[in-house]
């Protein structure tokens, strides 16, 4: 009577279809890291002056804003959203820092206000996306213009550059005894925080689920709207912080600071293996992606290659990285299909 009981032999379920080394080494992230190491090795060997500590300092100092903003951007793209307004938020925060100092506030106060403005900007994006339910691509193209417009509108023709030297020096100094700028400490802390959040918390798990199927995520008790909202707030906050750093680094608060950086950041995140459709990607890949673009640019500039060629290479890298991934999966499918056909010819040899 009982339906399916033929002394159900205890089944074992292999947890993994692939061996460990394959799962670790044959990943998008691993190949980006490998490429980064290769670029560094080649540059060391062939580009004069590349091996100087200055290279490290300059590289990290300049890519720091991209590194910072790439962190929350990764999480946002994993939920299948996007934030194109980050560079505008950076510019707005820069202007706010400047105006604060001009108004006679102590710099730390101005900095805190600037970061809060960034958070507010992020909250506006978040609310439009989650509460009103608009597509983030369109929303942030709008706020890209809006926040930049406010920044440029507030400061008009002027640039503010009378920041206390103790602070501007802090933005430029290195960790004593190393060629690494102090801002990297802030980045490391944030990166660790974001990595843990994304890869080792229930919240992080829910982000992948949201990116792949937000309806199923909602049915699993994940508050999709709230999660996304906070991601946008994080993105705004980090962009605000990056704006303060940018201002101090260049001793310069301007409305058009970091104009166009949003696309650089997104390019780096995508290069790092995050899927624009959401649900896939890891932070170590993204960090490697940012550093890869930065290092390549730095090495090529040192080798006397002009900025246009560097742009072409950045674009090629991005295109090749996605195309190769899709080509690989195509080859894989072909192989599998061929395997299937072979099996098909000799029936009876299946599972």
């Amino acid at each position: 009577m009982t339906a399916t009981t033929e002394a159900a032999a205890p089944r074992t379920y292999a947890a993994h279809a692939q061996p460990l080394w394959r799962r670790v080494l044959v990943t998008r992230e691993a190949s980006i890291i490998g490429l980064l190491l290769a670029v560094i090795a080649v540059a060391m060997a062939t580009v004069p002056n590349f091996d100087s500590p200055l290279t490290v300092t300059y590289l990290l100092r300049e890519t720091a804003p991209i590194l910072l903003i790439a962190l929350p951007m990764t999480l946002i793209i994993i939920t299948a959203e996007i934030d194109l307004s980050v560079a505008s938020v950076l510019g707005l925060a820069s202007v706010v820092t400047g105006l604060g100092v001009q108004a006679g506030w102590p710099l730390p106060v101005a900095m805190v206000v600037a970061v809060l403005v960034g958070a507010t900007a992020g909250a506006i994006n978040g609310a439009l996306v989650t509460v009103v339910g608009l597509p983030s691509l369109a929303v942030t193209i709008g706020t890209l213009a809006l926040f930049r417009g406010i920044a440029v509108g507030l400061l008009g023709t002027t640039a503010i550059s009378d920041f206390p030297e103790t602070w501007t020096d802090l933005a430029r100094t290195n960790i004593p005894g190393t060629p690494v700028p102090v801002v990297i400490i802030a980045f490391a802390v944030l990166a660790l925080g974001f990595a843990v959040l994304l890869h080792f918390t229930p919240f992080g798990r829910s982000l992948y689920a949201i990116g792949l199927n937000k309806e199923a995520a909602a049915f699993s008790g994940i508050d999709v709207g709230r999660s996304k909202f906070w991601l946008f707030v994080m993105s705004g906050t980090v962009a605000g912080f990056a704006g303060v750093y940018f201002t101090l680094l260049y001793n310069n608060a301007r409305g058009d600071n970091a104009i166009g950086m949003e696309l650089q950041i997104i390019a780096a995140v995508l290069l790092g293996g995050v899927s624009i459709f959401g649900g896939r990607g890891a932070l170590h890949g993204v960090i490697a992606g940012v550093l890869l673009i930065g290092t390549l640019g730095s090495a090529l500039r040192l080798a006397g290659v002009t900025s246009d060629i560097i742009n072409v290479l950045t674009g090629l890298l991005l295109v090749l990285s996605v195309v190769s991934a899709s080509a690989l999966s195509w080859v894989h499918q072909r192989r599998v299909a061929a395997l299937g056909r072979r099996r098909g010819r000799s029936p009876g040899t299946s599972s």
Binding site: P48, T157, T158, A159, Y250, N251, L302
Partner: protein, 323 residues
């Protein structure tokens, strides 16, 4: 791109080499600007005469922060001298100082930074001289009365702002009937300047004249005017290169405009940079150096070297120039 044989092999020891020759890198506000093309060509000539190595680098759009990475690269390469036209007086300051710390001589030309960030500024003309020349040109063309507007480059361009300030003072002091109605910013971008000109003409139907103290701006404004109903009605002057303006002077859109010779500016800057790099001068007031066919120059207060007075081009003399 512009930089010819860019084999900057030398220069590990920043500063005085055994020979007189130095490696000099030119960093304009942006690439793709014919004014800097000309000035850099002058610089390249000078470097060739000196037997050094010339390199030209720069961002594709004129923003201060994008200049920084090129300054840093020059510092890493340990070039002997860097010749910069600053997009912002402050933003590239720290980077320039770091470069000087590792032994790079820094000369600014065309647009200065704060004096403490560079060794020498090669000034194309004094700000007073430029402002005076432009006010004279425009007031003459509009019979010293009516509305005028200024079409500037980017809102932060140091040199532009200094001139505009002086022009306003001069207008207030000596031309009571001339009203400056607006300062518009074309961002040294051709399309923006063109559209801004259209907007100015429309916003101020009474406008008598436009001053554009930037070569990109004046060319764009002239092109708009030449095809519009305002041709010959609204006066246009400012700073432009003869090759860009020739057509408009000939068709009557523009009566006269001013400029120095940018090639000379680059040439002088290269000699100044070389003199600094070889230790011939230190940038103190009173130092003197030879600048090839331009003769001898002296460093004056605030570490400035002056090229000379601006030159006025008009229909009679424009045929004599080709740059």
């Amino acid at each position: 791109s512009g930089g010819d044989d860019a084999g900057s092999d030398g220069g590990d020891a920043g500063g005085g080499g055994s020979e007189e020759a130095a490696s000099i890198t030119f960093l304009p506000k942006s690439l793709g600007n014919p004014y800097f093309d000309t000035s850099n060509a002058g610089g390249a000539d000078a470097v060739e005469e000196l037997g050094g190595t010339f390199e030209e680098v720069g961002p594709s759009e004129a923003s201060p922060t994008s200049q920084v990475s090129f300054i840093e690269t020059a510092a890493q390469q340990g070039v002997d001298a860097l010749v910069v036209s600053a997009n912002d007086p402050e933003a590239i300051c720290d980077a320039l100082n770091e470069a000087r710390d590792v032994g790079v001589a820094v000369v600014t030309f065309d647009s200065d930074t704060n004096p403490e960030c560079r060794d020498l500024f090669v000034n194309q003309a004094t700000a007073e001289g430029i402002a005076q020349a432009q006010v004279d040109l425009i007031t003459e063309q509009i019979d010293d009365s009516g509305q005028i507007a200024i079409l500037s480059a980017s809102a932060n361009a140091t040199n532009q702002n200094a001139w505009i300030e002086l022009m306003e003072a001069e207008l207030d002091a000596n031309h009571p009937d001339v009203e400056l109605v607006e300062v518009a910013y074309g961002d040294d971008d051709d399309q923006t300047s063109f559209d801004k000109t259209a907007a100015l003409l429309q916003t101020y139907p009474e406008l008598e004249g436009i001053v554009s103290p930037t070569t990109v701006g004046i060319a764009a404004a002239a092109r708009y005017l030449s095809t519009s109903e305002y041709q010959g009605e609204v006066a246009l002057t400012g700073l432009g290169t003869p090759n860009q303006m020739r057509e408009y002077v000939e068709d009557g859109t523009v009566e006269a405009f001013a400029l120095w010779n940018p090639a000379d500016l680059g040439y002088l800057s290269a000699y100044a940079a070389n003199a600094l790099a070889t230790g011939e001068i230190s940038g103190e007031a009173g130092d003197t150096f030879e600048a090839g066919e331009l003769g001898s120059y002296e460093v004056d207060e605030e570490g400035t070297v002056l090229l000379g007075d601006p030159f006025v081009f008009d229909a009679d003399n424009i045929g004599d120039f080709d740059f």
